[in-house]
């Protein structure tokens, strides 16, 4: 009955202050009370135990957290940056102003349209966010606007004496023909016991193009549950990169809808797991219209007791002819106790479709290790080189390569090449 206890705790508290959208919060409260939080019996939760999340103490983020020194925080040079520390806005750490045609605002100040793509009734966690969100970001591009600078939205978990949670809410809207690159980055100090339960709604109008990078770097005590809903209109293009690195508990539920002909999705993912990392990516691609195309390529490199789950759902509507949907997953298991679970789930109601999926699991190639050693590299260096090479290959089209440095450190090989050849 842990779930019930958790729900009650949320419903009882008022320490969060007034909800930005009281009607939405009320709908959330009603749904949460009726349905509770989802858990193990639900199919999509079969491989991830929500108990550690549901049984933890819940409290809002401590106000007035000491802001971290600016140079501690990950940074993208030239990006429009907005930062939240322990779920609270940190305007002093913001960088850059949006150019004409671009609006980047605190969502709590103008929450119109929140809940349209992901309603509070979608799931217990959607209800929880609808009830509990207090801060967030909105990004809107007018028709035809091409935003060149990446947008970096950083939710940073700083220390706190008590466990805490926060419920970010994000809304991205690209009007017809607009394009942008957005990095949503949830990271924090190693020992923070925190839960980020975020909801991201994305609307892509006809011909809009969004490169969206979701990075999670949680410490061993960190929990992150992100729900993402994307709606792609005619000829819209979504490039989606999922990057998980750390030792915490991460789950994403992505509902990606290719609603009109010509809409495309290209997803690339990398999980680099250590310690007791739990990462669960549940992706459902809805092909609602003919001539829509999706490609999902994910990789995992797992050490220690790390565990990764990939649920790759593809749903093809009855009249969505001529679509293609491809999925591939490759995993490098570096420890006997590491584990990967990949579950493609295809539901195809149209007849003329091309769908494929494949998964491979392997260990480091001993012959390649020996080859490198026979050239004078010590075994540990050789191992690191091979692991990083495998991992890098997961994200060949990453639009902001600097993001890789958060994970791999400075790219020695690339830097060398750039400097010489």
């Amino acid at each position: 009955m842990a779930a019930v206890r958790a729900v009650r705790a949320y419903l009882d508290r008022d320490a969060f202050g007034v909800a930005p959208d009281p009607a939405l919060a009320e709908r959330g409260a009603v749904h949460l009370a009726a349905a509770g939080l989802p858990g193990a019996p639900a199919e999509s939760w079969r491989h991830t135990d929500p108990a550690p999340l549901l049984t933890r103490a819940v409290a809002p983020a401590p106000p007035g957290a000491v802001a971290p020194a600016a140079d501690v925080l990950p940074r993208l040079v030239g990006a429009l940056r907005r930062v939240w520390v322990n779920g609270q806005p940190a305007p002093a750490l913001a960088e850059g102003a949006p150019p004409p045609g671009v609006r980047l605002w605190a969502l709590e100040d103008a929450a119109d349209g929140v809940g349209e793509r992901l309603s509070p009734e979608h799931s217990g966690f959607a209800a929880l966010n609808a009830l509990s969100w207090r801060h967030g970001a909105g990004l809107a591009l007018e028709a035809g606007v091409k935003l060149v600078e990446p947008v970096h939205l950083l939710w940073w978990s700083q220390s706190g004496d008590q466990p805490w949670d926060a419920h970010p809410r994000l809304l991205l809207r690209l009007a017809a023909g607009a394009s942008a690159t957005v990095v949503i980055h949830q990271a924090g100090a190693a020992a923070v016991d925190a839960f980020l339960g975020s909801v991201l709604e994305v609307d892509l109008a006809a011909g809009a193009a969004l490169d969206l990078v979701l990075v999670d770097q949680q410490g061993a005590q960190g929990f992150a549950l992100s729900q993402v809903a994307v709606h792609g209109a005619r000829d819209s293009r979504l490039g989606l990169w999922l990057l998980d690195d750390g030792a915490g508990w991460v789950r994403r539920e992505l509902e990606l809808t290719l609603a009109e002909p010509g809409a495309t999705l290209a997803l690339q993912g990398l999980v680099r797991g250590r310690g007791a990392l739990r990462v669960d990516n549940q992706v459902v691609v809805h092909h609602r219209a003919p001539q829509t195309h999706s490609l999902q390529q994910t990789r995992a490199v797992l050490q220690d007791r790390a565990r990764a789950v990939f649920g790759g759902g593809v749903r093809v509507a009855v009249d969505a002819q001529g679509i293609t949907a491809r999925q591939a997953n490759a995993t490098l298991l570096l420890s006997r106790r590491a584990e990967v679970i990949t579950r493609p789930a295809l539901e195809i109601l149209a007849d003329e479709v091309q769908c494929s999926h494949g998964a491979s699991v392997g260990q480091l190639d001993e012959t390649a290790l020996f080859y490198l050693q026979s050239r004078g590299l010590d075994r540990e260096t050789a191992r690191t080189l091979l692991i990083d090479a495998f991992a890098r290959a997961a994200l060949p089209d990453l639009p902001v390569p600097a993001v890789l440095e958060w994970v791999f450190g400075p790219a020695e090989a690339d830097a060398f090449l750039a400097a010489t050849v």
Partner: protein, 253 residues
């Protein structure tokens, strides 16, 4: 430089080398020939330190050190180079990175300063020209998508840059057309010097038309059953392994 005495090696309790002895001095080029399964590639792999081979007897001394006690990377840093019969493709690790990391690992080991990028590139470009390797190869992943001939030329390029004391080339000639064989042979010839030794492991006599060995050894059943000068290679070419093995049977057993 290298002294192998009565070397015995097994894999999965199956003996592959059964008392092999060989002495290689600086300045010498030795060809080791033999039929498939005779133990040629096993010898090359054991000398370079590949895992999975169980040493059951005998000794290998390399420059007055116990070679078998050294890790593969130590052997490389001490100047042993193995040219692979099947060079490994390593997606995501680029050639130039591997070359530089290898060379600098050896230089550090010898107490020499690492080469800076400019010096390194100058060195590499010169050798690439000799091997007919285009500059774009540097940016490509190690051996990835290379043809058989390109992989072998890349092995020789690595050897030219690392300047080993003892080079062991395992069937470097296999899979090469005649033009590639000439290029590879040119690279090997360029490495001959009084303070360097080479072991050419080969199935065919063809390579030895371009690189004339000082000694030829015939390996069969995990032992060297005959040794001679380069004329032995011609004898093998004329009589086949069976003929030579039949003649040697009385000696070997």
């Amino acid at each position: 430089m290298l002294q192998i005495d009565n070397l015995q090696v097994s894999v999965d309790d199956r003996p592959l080398l059964k008392g092999l002895s060989l002495k290689v001095n600086a300045g010498e080029v030795h060809a080791i020939m033999g039929p498939n399964g005779s133990g040629k590639s096993t010898l090359a792999a054991v000398l370079a330190g590949r895992e999975g081979y169980v040493h059951t007897g005998g000794t290998v001394r390399y420059r007055d050190q116990d070679l078998l006690a050294m890790a593969p990377e130590e052997r490389a840093r001490e100047g042993i180079f193995l040219g692979f019969q099947y060079p490994v493709e390593i997606p995501g690790v680029n050639n130039v990175y591997l070359l530089k990391a290898s060379l600098n690992a050896q230089r550090r080991h010898r107490g020499e300063p690492e080469l800076d990028a400019f010096e390194f590139l100058r060195l590499v470009r010169g050798q690439m020209e000799m091997m007919g390797i285009p500059e774009e190869f540097l940016r490509r992943s190690v051996n990835e998508g290379f043809s058989g001939g390109e992989k072998k030329r890349n092995e020789i390029l690595q050897m030219l840059i690392l300047q080993p004391r003892l080079a062991i080339l395992d069937e470097i000639d296999s899979g090469l057309d005649i033009d590639a064989l000439k290029v590879v042979s040119t690279g090997i010839q360029a490495m001959r010097s009084p303070d360097r030794a080479m072991i050419l492991v080969t199935h065919y006599q063809r390579l030895l038309d371009y690189v004339s060995p000082d000694y030829v050894h015939v390996l069969a059943g995990g032992r060297i059953i005959r040794s001679g000068g380069k004329e032995l290679a011609h004898e093998l070419e004329a009589e086949g392994y069976e003929g030579v093995l039949a003649g040697a049977a009385g000696v070997a057993k």
